[in-house]
Each structure stands twice: as C-alpha cells, then as structure tokens.
C-alpha cells in the first residue's frame, strides 16, 4: 500500500507541472500584466513602470519566469510573490482557502445529511408521490443559478430582519466585528465559532441546494440497484423485515460509492462555493481568484492552482484508499 501511495504522489509531479504550465501560459497570453493598469495613472511615470516590471521579474522571458517560480516552489516551498499584495502568495491565499473550506465543508455535511435519506426514500418508494415531489425539489436546486439564489436569499434576510425587527439573519459576510459587545478578537473561541456558523446559514443553504440534486439522484440510483440485487432478494425471501432489508442490507452497500467519493470532495473544497461567495461577501477563494485575475496577479493564480492540484491528487488517493477500506472486493494495483 505504501508503494501505491508513493506512486500516486509521484504522479502528482507531471500533473502539477502540466496544470501550472497551462495556467501560466493562459495568463501570459492575456493582454497586459500586473503593472499595465498603472500606466493610466497620471502620477506614475514611465521609468517607475519599468522599474516595477524589473522588480517583479516581469521583464524576463516567460519560460524563465516559470522556471524561477518552479524552483521557488521546489526549493523553498515558496509559492511566489503576489504582485498585487506585494507579499508572499501563501499569506494571501491561506485565509481565503480556509474560509472556503468552512463554507464548503458545512455545505457538504448538509448535503450528505439531507440527500442520503431523500435518496433512500425515493428509491424505496419509487415513483410514489413523495419520490416525485422530492425529485422535483432536488431538481429545483439544480436548476436555479446559485448566484441568483444567493441574491434572493440576501433579500430574504433583509425582509426577515425587517419583519422581525431584529437581526435574525446576517446580511452577507462571515463574521461580526463585535460579539456580545466585545471586539471579535477578544471574544472566546466558542463565540467566534458560533458567529461564523450563524453567518454561514444562508450561504450553506444556497450551496447545499445546488449540490443536493446530484447526490440525491446518485443515492437513489445506487439504492435501486442494490435493492434489485440477489442478496437483497434473498434477504426478503428469508422474511427479514423490510426496514432491516433497507437499512442493514441495502443502505450499507449503496453508500459505498458515496463514502469513497468523500476524497473527491477535497478538490471541490478549493474550488470554493463559486459566485455565491461573491454575492454573499464570503471572503473565500472565488473573490480572491477573481481579484487576482483582474489584477493579473499571476502567482496568486498559480498558487491557487498548485494547492488545488495537490488536493485533487490527495483527494483521489484518499478516495481510492477509502474505497479499498470499505469495499473488501477492491485491492490496490
């Protein structure tokens, strides 16, 4: 198994190099660089712009820039310099990654908690009214653009607060400045955690709704397949109670691919919750990435992609290991 893990980690290198080269080339093809926007500033003269380019190494040939960056990553674990923040990339992206992980992690939890029972119900009561209604609901989440849904939720929050006459729901953001009259950084950690959880209610609902449908459908399909298997039929024939059949025999086997899929969620975590973060002012990866793209902050983009590649491989590896663990039929090869 260690051999297998080592091999998978080695595979990381070509994927990592390939993905970063791809990103690097794409960004370089786009017109301009991080300094271009200063050219329209009447107070900045030409020499200053040239000096900035030199300072950031933007005057080097592109392959050399890439080599320089790569050597930084390999030799110093240094993801480069953010041209926008003028500090190291890791410090720029660390917090957004963590914030997105909170949001996506909570949403995933919610998805699993809701989707599995719905999927099971839909499979057991296939084509019943309940199945149809739940299917419809699941599709609702899939069909509504999540940035649009997020906006609706934002106004919903305002409406609720107005009618309640108090701040029942937060209007965007991730934290409050004051917790019970104390500045945030002086508040106990439990209060801070609760505060983040409270702020995450609406974005989590939005993100979870859009991700729910897929899982419900997978769960339903898995369950239907397992329920038609011989051993389930045998169990029924033996006179095992229906609930036992469903929960003990069928469910256990139906969730196997879902369990294994958990590893696959890791790269999803770095993808962040997409435009929901933008609309809901959640300080996650997507706003950071959009900002980096518009500032052509090349190494921040590269840094995000590096981390995401790493998480992808680790996630896939984790999936495979989990799968081998939950499913005795699978061995490493």
């Amino acid at each position: 198994m260690w051999n297998y893990i080592a091999r998978r980690l080695l595979q990381l290198i070509p994927t990592f190099v390939g993905a970063t080269i791809l990103a690097f080339v794409i960004i370089q093809i786009a017109p301009g660089d991080a300094i271009t926007r200063f050219e329209l500033d009447p107070t900045v003269d030409r020499e200053q712009i040239e000096r900035l380019r030199q300072q950031f190494g933007l005057d080097q040939p592109i392959p050399a820039q890439y080599a320089k960056w790569l050597s930084g990553v390999f030799f110093h674990g240094y993801l480069g310099l953010s041209l926008d923040y003028r500090s190291d990339v890791w410090s720029v992206i660390r917090q957004p990654i963590l914030n997105s992980m909170v949001l996506v992690g909570l949403s995933t939890l919610l998805i699993y908690l809701v989707a599995i029972p719905i999927g099971v119900y839909s499979a057991v009561r296939k084509y019943s009214l309940g199945d149809r209604a739940l299917t419809f609901l699941a599709f609702f989440g899939l069909a509504i653009p999540n940035f649009f849904f997020a906006l609706i939720m934002l106004y919903f929050a305002i409406w609720v607060n107005d009618h309640a006459g108090m701040r029942l729901l937060p209007v965007g953001g991730m934290t409050d400045q004051f917790l019970g009259g104390v500045p945030r950084q002086e508040a106990p950690w439990i209060a801070r955690t609760l505060d983040v959880l409270w702020h995450s209610i609406l974005p989590v609902i939005v993100v979870a709704t859009s991700g729910m449908a897929g899982l419900v459908r997978i769960m339903r399909g898995q369950m239907l397949e397992v329920l038609s298997q011989d051993y389930v039929r045998t169990a029924r024939a033996k006179g095992v109670a229906e609930s036992m059949v469903v929960y003990k025999h069928a469910l256990r086997n139906a969730v196997i691919p879902l369990v294994a899929g958990i590893g696959g969620l890791l790269p999803g975590l770095i993808g962040g919750a997409g435009l929901v973060e933008v609309v809901m002012a959640w300080p996650g990866i997507t706003p950071a990435f959009l900002q980096a793209v518009s500032a052509i902050d090349i190494y921040v983009i590269m840094g995000l992609i590096t981390i995401s590649t790493f998480l992808l491989i680790v996630g896939n590896l984790l999936s495979d290991l989990l799968l081998a663990w939950v499913d005795p039929r699978i061995r490493y090869n």
Partner: protein
C-alpha cells in the same frame, strides 16, 4: 397454411429495436414528457423570435428605460369586451422619491393587431420577412409602445429579448455539449482504443530501426523525421531559454541544481534524437491531459480562459469563443468516462469478432464501439446541457460571457443583478430571464432523467 400464419404473426410482432423500446418507455415518463414539451416550445420560440418580438433585438427606447409591462386592455371605459388595446405611456422620475413613475394616457387607444407587417427581418438569417405576431401602425410610428414584459436598462423590450436571448442560451448548451462531446469522444476513443498499444513518437537516427523505417517509405519518412527533429529542437530551445533566464537571476545552490537538471535534459534530448526508439501511449498522454484539466477548478479555468477572449470581436464570434471555452473546460470529464466505456466495450467479444473479420480500427470504433456508448452519451448530453447554460449565465453575470447589445438569458438576468434590491421591489419583470433559465434547466433535467430511465439497459424489455 402454417407458413402463412407464421408470416402474419411475425408481422404483428414487428421487432423493435432497443431505441424504439426506449422511446416507448420514455413516453410513459410524465415528467420527461413535460420537460420535452416545454423545451420544444422554448426552441420554437427561439426559432421564431423575430416573429414573436414586436421590435428588433437591439431596438432601444432611451426615454423609456425600466418601463413596466405595458397594460393591455380588454375592456373599454364602459367595461365592454373589445379588441385588446394599449395606451401611450409616459415616463417621469419623481423628484421627491426619485422613483420612476409611468402614467397612461388613454385619450387614444392603440389596438393590437395580430399577424401584422412589422419591421423587416431575415428569418433564419436569409429569408426576408416582416411578419410579426403583434403590432400595428402605431407601434412602428412609435406613438405607443408594446412591452409585454417591460423594458431593461436601455429601454429594450424584454419579451422580445428573451426570445432572441433564447437563441444564445438554448443553443450555447447544445453547441458546447456537442463540441465537448466531439473532443471528449474523440480523445476518449483514441485513449480507450489505443490503451496499451503505444505509438512510435520518434526513432533515433542511429537506431537500426531507423534505417528500416526510411527504406520502407522514404519520402514520408523523411518528412516525419523533420517533424520530430523540430519537436525535439523546440523542446531544447525552450529548456535553453528557461535555463539562461534562470541563470540570469539566480545564483548559488539552485542555479547549480537547475543547471545540472537543464543540461541533463538537453543531453537527454540529444540522446533521444540519436539513439532510442521512443514510443508513447496515447492513452497516458490524453489521460494526463484530462487530469491536468481536472486539477484546475472549473470556475477558475473558465474565468482565466474568458479573459483570453479578444474583446474587439463581433458578438457572433464571441458566442462561438464562449462555446469553445465552455467545451474546453468540460471535455476532460467526458473523455474519461468515454474511455472507461470504450475499454469495456473494446473487450466485448463482438468488437473482437469484427477485428477477427478484418474490420479496420476505424470501423470497429465507429460501428461497434461507439454505438455502444450512445445511451450513455444521450443521457450525459441532456444532463450536460443545463450545466453549460448555467455556466454561461455565470460567465455573463461576471461580465465575461455574451456582451451587449446581443442578449442571452444570463446577460439579461445580470441586469436584475445590477439593479440589486430594486429589481425585486420595483422591477420584478427583470427577473423573468431567471425564470426562463430555471425552466429550461429543469426541463433538460427532467428529460435527462427520463432518458436515463428509458435507456437503462437493465430496464425490462
């Protein structure tokens, strides 16, 4: 006698192909039927957008921005039913509340006529026509206006633009899916079919095999030789630029390590040119590529690529470029699944049977392997299209997709977005494009779901 009966019974038992049976199952699926029906209506609407819309796509009324839907009257002052008519509407900003106020002036009634001559257009892009569903002289003379679903921030008729926009939104998914599918299926097929069968990349000039290779077919061989020399040369040049640039800025340990590495690579390239026979497995290359694409989160890749779209291009070009980007981001997943399917199908005995018969690779792929993936393809297409529609609306939302004055549902919805809370409180009609996105995606999903059930190979025959 018996023979006759048998013949007739055979006629009655007309054998049904897999797809015919699937179609029957599909029709029994109520939600799928509903989805299909709705989509049919939407596509017809898109096709006949010019006919449905009273105005051309880009026609704007700058003094009538954000007009609410024009009230259509069915009764005259005495409450008697009459032909539908509208009144002239005037727009003013109230300087107390700063809200827009619209007042009807019903001194003159403008009757809505159906199937009228309106502004000329070209149906399907080339047939000159001027038949419009609704209108009247007053509409062309701009004495009064007919905005069934209000106007946007430029005073353009939203009803019409939704149907014009449907052309983009409803086809972008199909085009993007088709292109992604094309790339994905092509790459996936190559990958799946050639897995474990490496192809020769280059032969070293001093390799004994090279002489044989050249002697077999001199001219094309020499051409190929030049090609791979160019490849290796280009690679060497790139490594050299990298190395020299790196040395220019770095000293010490790293420079040494990179130097050794770089020189090593250059030597390896020289060696590759001279001696070995290098074979590559297309499967490995393609799968690595998809892995690389998968490593970059979709939204990131989409955004980064969108920045590449040259902006000084006509809207039609932009549309196709958006399509290209969407499909570029998504072909990897399709290719991977296709590869899996093909690896499975390749081992099916009927594929081997065809090979044993002497069928060419392309025939085996196209006649025996690809048709086996059809059911999967159909389902994944119907389920991929809504994804693309969503992706397009997302791109348009952040301003990287379709651009004005062209329209797409995503773009139209971004107007509501730009309006913020006003859109909800005062201008709810701006949200209608969102409703269309929602309905279209829902319909595609219902249809896909129905198709999946119908095409399930395990379904009872």
């Amino acid at each position: 006698m018996t023979r006759k009966i048998e013949a007739r019974s055979q006629g009655a038992l007309q054998s049904r192909s897999f797809f015919q049976e699937a179609w029957i199952r599909f029709r029994r699926h109520p939600l799928a039927r509903l989805g299909g029906g709705v989509l049919l209506v939407l596509y017809l609407g898109a096709l006949f957008a010019d006919f449905l819309a009273p105005y051309p796509e880009t026609k704007s009324f700058r003094d009538l921005t954000f007009s609410p839907p024009t009230p259509v009257h069915w009764r005259d002052e005495n409450g008697r039913l009459t032909r539908p008519y509208v009144c002239a509407v005037e727009r003013k900003r109230n300087l107390e509340t700063f809200k827009l106020e619209f007042t009807q002036n019903c001194a003159q009634k403008y009757t809505i006529y159906f199937f009228v001559q309106g502004e000329p257009y070209r149906f399907l892009g080339f047939i000159p026509a001027n038949l419009r569903l609704m209108g009247g002289e007053w509409l062309q003379n701009e004495q009064a206006h007919l905005f069934l679903w209000g106007t946007d921030d430029f005073g353009r008729d939203l009803w019409g633009r939704i149907w014009y926009g449907a052309r983009v939104s409803l086809t972008i998914g199909i085009f993007a899916t088709a292109l992604a599918l094309l790339i994905g299926v092509f790459m996936g097929s190559l990958s799946g079919f050639f897995a474990g069968k490496p192809l020769t990349l280059s032969i070293g000039l001093f390799n004994p095999a090279y002489r044989e290779f050249v002697s077999r077919n001199p001219l094309p061989s020499l051409f190929k030789t030049l090609l791979w020399l160019a490849l290796w040369g280009g690679l060497a040049w790139l490594v050299w630029v990298m190395l020299s640039g790196f040395w220019a800025t770095t000293r010490g340990f790293e420079a040494v390590v990179f130097g050794v590495l770089g020189v090593g690579i250059l030597l390896a390239i020289a060696y590759a040119v001279l001696f070995p026979l290098i074979k590559i497995d297309l499967d490995t290359i393609i799968m690595r590529t998809t892995e690389i694409l998968a490593a970059i989160p979709d939204l990131f890749l989409l955004i980064t690529l969108s920045v590449l779209i040259p902006q000084g291009i006509p809207p039609a070009m932009r549309f196709y470029l958006v399509v290209c980007i969407l499909s570029f981001v998504n072909w990897g997943g399709l290719a991977r699944v296709m590869r899996g399917q093909i690896l499975q199908l390749r081992e099916m005995e009927y594929a081997q049977a065809a090979q044993a018969m002497g069928a060419s690779d392309s025939r085996v792929i196209t006649r025996h392997i690809l048709p086996g993936t059809f059911t999967f393809l159909i389902v994944s297409v119907t389920l991929a299209i809504p994804g693309f529609i969503l992706a397009e609306s997302g791109l348009s939302f952040i301003g990287l997709g379709i651009q004005e004055p062209a329209s797409s549902w995503g773009l139209l919805l971004s107007k509501a977005q730009a309006q913020g809370i006003t859109a909800f409180v005062d201008r709810p009609w701006l949200l209608i494009p969102g409703l269309f996105i929602f309905i279209a995606i829902l319909s595609f999903n219902f249809m896909g779901d129905g198709l999946r059930d119908a095409l399930d190979p395990r379904a009872k025959r």
